[in-house]
């Protein structure tokens, strides 16, 4: 934990707060409850008592605002900075400001930030705590979605606030509960840990060998689709994606929605055209184009736009050959060749997979081009194929990419 320079703190135990305005994102009662519960976190471990006032000057003035809002720290629109608060003091001291451009929610969801969690953090500043570099601490500066049911103040924060104010005079009769049990549809604890996807555990440096989880090494593991993306490789299965990157040695396992919230998971096929910084995802008879995290406008489009007849209802797999600029689409026991330069399907297709790719006598679940080779996945197996000769080199387990 840390405190501000000169460790400013309230010189009294009775601290007042006032909610100046409300966010339209939430019911007023929910805002009030979230703020009250946030204060309760801190009062449960200190001698401090917080009283809400409804008019006049309070020690801690709480407000929602967008952009420039009367201090030297304007907000920045959605994302980025969520809120800020000032250390104890007169006037603006102790005040907490929340960015109205965020979508605030009472609980943690995919579509917003938990006002309870953010308020609890900001009130830590209002009471005199700076940022902690302890991952998981409430005063850690990055927003971390978590399950707020039965939320308890982490020890680092307790140590910090008690260094300023001491322990409570009487131990709390009961453990503080952050919120009553959530509706089950809100978010499961497992989901709660995946809302901020690209973030890695910051305490990890670079382990020599990636930790391998049992589910990654299931010998029966199969994939729906696989693609490269800016040098990384993404393996899709249902709602999840495994992310293998040359930039970090462990394999990430995330929800697809954490990267592309508006895409419907369960892809049939995917491939990258790296020169265009574009990845195409296929599901049923539609496809989407993305560039990094952004979904290109105008999608989804029907796969017939690529030249498929209406009899083709879905794609099994797709792989792009960056040398020839051709993309192969696999549908049943046949494959099609699409010329990315002319954006048209090549004549003479579809052809039987087994006729051209010797040794591949079955459908293809997913396909990948990597290191100058094709990898065709079928169930728990993958087949390494020479791109030029189209000959089978070797057969491996599908999960061989996961350091099992």
């Amino acid at each position: 934990y840390s405190t501000f320079p000169l460790s400013p703190k309230w010189k009294k135990e009775d601290v007042t707060y006032r909610i100046l305005n409300y966010t339209p994102d939430m019911l007023q009662a929910d805002v009030e409850e979230a703020i009250a519960k946030a204060f309760q976190l801190w009062s449960s471990v200190t001698p401090l008592r917080f009283t809400r006032v409804y008019s006049g000057q309070a020690d801690i003035m709480i407000s929602f605002a967008s952009g420039f809002h009367g201090d030297f720290y304007p907000f920045d629109g959605p994302g980025g900075t969520l809120a800020h608060a000032y250390p104890p003091g007169s006037n603006i001291g102790g005040d907490a400001h929340f960015d109205e451009d965020e979508n605030w929610t009472k609980f943690t969801t995919y579509n917003g930030y938990s006002l309870f969690l953010v308020a609890a953090h900001e009130l830590g500043h209002s009471l005199g705590l700076g940022h902690s570099n302890v991952l998981g601490a409430l005063m850690y500066p990055i927003y971390m979605a978590r399950d707020t049911r039965d939320y308890k103040l982490p020890q680092d924060d307790i140590d910090g606030i008690q260094a300023l104010y001491g322990r409570p005079k009487e131990p709390p009769a009961l453990p503080t509960k952050a919120f009553p049990p959530q509706e089950p549809t809100e978010m499961t604890p497992a989901e709660a840990t995946t809302e901020m996807p690209p973030r890695k555990e910051p305490t990890e440096t670079t382990p020599s060998k990636a930790p391998v989880r049992p589910q990654d090494c299931d010998p029966h593991l199969s994939f729906d689709a696989i693609t490269t993306l800016r040098g990384e490789t993404l393996f899709f299965k249902g709602s999840y994606v495994w992310r293998k990157s040359p930039y970090f040695s462990d394999i990430e396992h995330d929800t697809i929605s954490s990267f592309w919230p508006s895409l419907v998971a369960g892809f049939d096929a995917a491939y990258e055209v790296d020169k265009r910084d574009r990845v195409l995802f296929f599901k049923d008879n539609h496809y989407w184009a993305v560039s990094g995290y952004s979904i290109e406008p105008g999608f989804p489009k029907p796969i017939q736009n690529l030249g498929f007849p209406t009899s083709v209802r879905k794609i099994d797999a797709a792989v792009h050959d960056e040398n020839t600029k051709k993309t192969y689409f696999f549908v049943g026991n046949k494959y099609w060749s699409f010329n990315e330069n002319t954006q048209s399907m090549e004549r003479g297709y579809p052809r039987k997979i087994a006729s051209d790719f010797h040794g591949i006598g079955h459908t293809v679940d997913a396909a990948l081009q990597k290191n100058g080779l094709f990898y065709f996945f079928h169930g728990a197996n993958q087949y390494e194929v020479d791109i030029k000769s189209k000959k089978l080199i070797r057969k491996m387990k599908s999960n061989s990419w996961f350091n099992c």
Partner: protein, 80 residues
């Protein structure tokens, strides 16, 4: 995801702003009296990487940039 080359400049500007906001980074004006720090931004990146437990390289790598893009509190992590 990793950045494409044409985005590098944009990312550098973003990182500079981040370091100004949260790590008290100030671009050094040339001064005859003061010894020049050849790469003050790298020093601040190191400071930020150290705070977050990232590998301390002084380079604006993928992990560092990803960390900078996380939603966060608007208070600085360090103060002058």
């Amino acid at each position: 995801f990793p950045v494409v080359p044409e985005k590098e400049k944009e990312e550098m500007q973003f990182a500079k702003k981040y370091l100004e906001n949260f790590y008290d980074f100030k671009e050094e004006k040339s001064s005859l009296l003061k010894r020049k720090n050849l790469n003050p931004m790298a020093d601040k990146i190191r400071e930020m990487q150290s705070f977050f437990g990232l590998e301390v390289t002084g380079e604006l790598n993928h992990k560092t940039l990803a960390m900078m893009k996380q939603p966060r509190c608007g208070m600085p992590d360090i103060r002058s």
